[in-house]
């Protein structure tokens, strides 16, 4: 199992392999890179030498010479949320499948200097491309301001082409569901205004509602946390006639339901609640939360796909449909007949 290079304390190089196989370093290099025109006999000798020595190419040397790394930088703020996490998982797996590795850098703040620092790091590490997972307006602005020749994917829409993002399809599905249940006066509990995913969910929700003849009566800006949901519940005015609320993520939805319960407002009898993310806990809160189950993993795949296409200057592979799904549970019900 362990390669027989215990005698030398330095890892084997192309030259070691070459001299062992009786060929030149160049031939070894070619074989490693998958060059076809090598005589079978030679090929085999080199192959064995590689195995015997446990040779692995030195990435630093290769990068120095070729200037092409096979690393992709992923810039993400709240990487530990369900959504970004799944995006990353999809992205990592897609990258790996194409021989790239994903370099995840989490930033704590969304201020310019944090962002710049992360991008600087990517430049120093000479990543082949950058995938910006978290999307706020500031981030987008900072990224676009830097003129760099590293390919960057900033906008999920960019990568999905004509296909709606999870936010778009999710917002629409939430609206359709609530419309079908007869709700006509609704509220929206959003993430911070400068977060694009929140805006996406909101816009598609609004548009679909308007098309169905319903009205958005109130909108509360949140910060993705359950606390924000609880505050919204306090701010909620029962006389507004709102019978359903769409929250931009489950955490806020859960906080919201908790706050409503404290005020004696029954879910779903008086107010229906729809969340977004379908976190595992959503099915186990009381009442069980109706939620949009987004396919973030495919969204991440799409993004990397588009990014790689740009890096390697080839047309993007056929796009996978992200396909969100609405999971209907106990937190939504027919609109109370006023």
């Amino acid at each position: 199992m362990v390669p027989d290079n215990a005698h030398s304390d330095r890892p084997a190089t192309v030259h070691d392999v070459a001299s062992r196989a009786g060929v030149s370093a160049q031939t070894v290099s070619r074989l490693v890179k998958g060059y076809e025109g090598i005589r079978p006999a030679t090929r085999e000798r080199v192959q064995t030498a590689i195995e015997e020595l446990g040779y692995r190419p030195n990435r630093a040397a290769r990068l120095l010479r070729t200037r092409r790394s096979n690393r992709i930088g992923a810039l993400v703020h709240n990487m530990f949320e369900r959504g970004p996490g799944q995006l990353l998982r999809g992205a990592a797996s897609e990258a790996r499948a194409s021989g790239y590795s994903l370099n995840i850098v989490g930033i704590d703040g969304l201020d310019e200097s944090s962002i710049d620092e992360a991008l600087d790091l990517f430049e120093e590490e000479q990543v082949a491309g950058i995938f910006v997972v978290t999307l706020t307006e500031e981030l987008r602005a900072v990224v676009q301001r830097r003129s760099s020749d590293i390919p960057i994917i900033v906008d999920p829409a960019e990568s999905a082409g004509p296909i709606p993002t999870t936010g778009e399809s999710g917002g629409r599905m939430a609206a359709q569901h609530l419309l079908a249940l007869g709700h006509r006066r609704l509220g929206f509990l959003g993430g911070p205004r400068e977060w694009l995913p929140s805006e996406q969910r909101k816009e598609s929700f609004f548009i679909e509602l308007l098309r169905g003849g319903a009205t958005v009566v109130a909108e509360w800006p949140g910060d993705w946390t359950p606390e924000a949901g609880a505050s919204a519940a306090q701010a909620f005015d029962p006389r507004s006639g709102i019978t359903a609320i769409f929250a931009a993520n489950d955490a806020m939805a859960i906080g919201l339901m908790h706050g409503l319960a404290l005020r004696g407002i029954r879910v779903p009898a008086e107010v229906s609640v729809v969340g977004f993310d379908d976190i595992p806990e959503a099915a186990y809160v009381i009442p069980e939360l109706t939620s949009v189950h987004p396919n973030f993993e495919d969204e991440g795949r799409n993004a990397i796909n588009a990014l790689l296409a740009r890096i390697e200057q080839r047309p993007p592979s056929p796009i996978i449909h992200p396909g969100s799904e609405l999971i209907v549970r106990g937190s939504t019900g027919p609109a109370p007949s006023a």
Copy 2:
């Protein structure tokens, strides 16, 4: 803001800087690395040249020459759970503070080949050290089987020295709390048996209970998901006399409470429930979940600290106390007097 190197299409090198400043490349290199003995006048000339050219050291070249990278590999399975996520955050910030960057690699499976693949990647990237975040027995075995000269931190206890891990102190605190409430017959809802953190939480919980004269009547093995909690609720035998259950994470605790509610078993009147992780949602489920709030961030810091000490062969910095805290909420109450 943008450095004036637009005219040349290649990024500036030490030589470019050197010739611009009228010194040798070596001097530039020394300055960049923070060498002290450079005459102020020279230093300033070089400094300006660096800024004017927007020079950044080429990491690949440096790594090739020095064989010392400033990257740390972090191997993690379920990176998107709250716990590992916070460990990573702490680890990343500690690493950054010491001039290292954290290379997070998530693996999907816990089988030998996934692990090996990830470790191979680390070796090829010549990371300075490896931090194994997720800890199962298999992982530990695979890691220890590979003889590699890269420093590795596998065991959190290793990095914390004499200080109890969050799992140890958390399990103990849960036990003390329940003992104080008069509970004497208890259950434990664990993670998979081969996960060390689960075992830690369990052991410290058990030990403290025994010391307090209580008995562990039942133990359910779970898989960290709320579903596992729900199954445990089904398996729960009301005639067992169990009045309190400690779940190894909040997700399972939430599933458990949901399952108990379905069976009409009241929490905390009949059964108290304590979780672990204190996820943001914990405070907003009904009843609000009493949970151990672990200081994973500091645990991550400690680990990186210990790792860096080993890498740089210096004594570890004073250790930060992880300090878990028990957040008491509505899911725990006095034991019902039988």
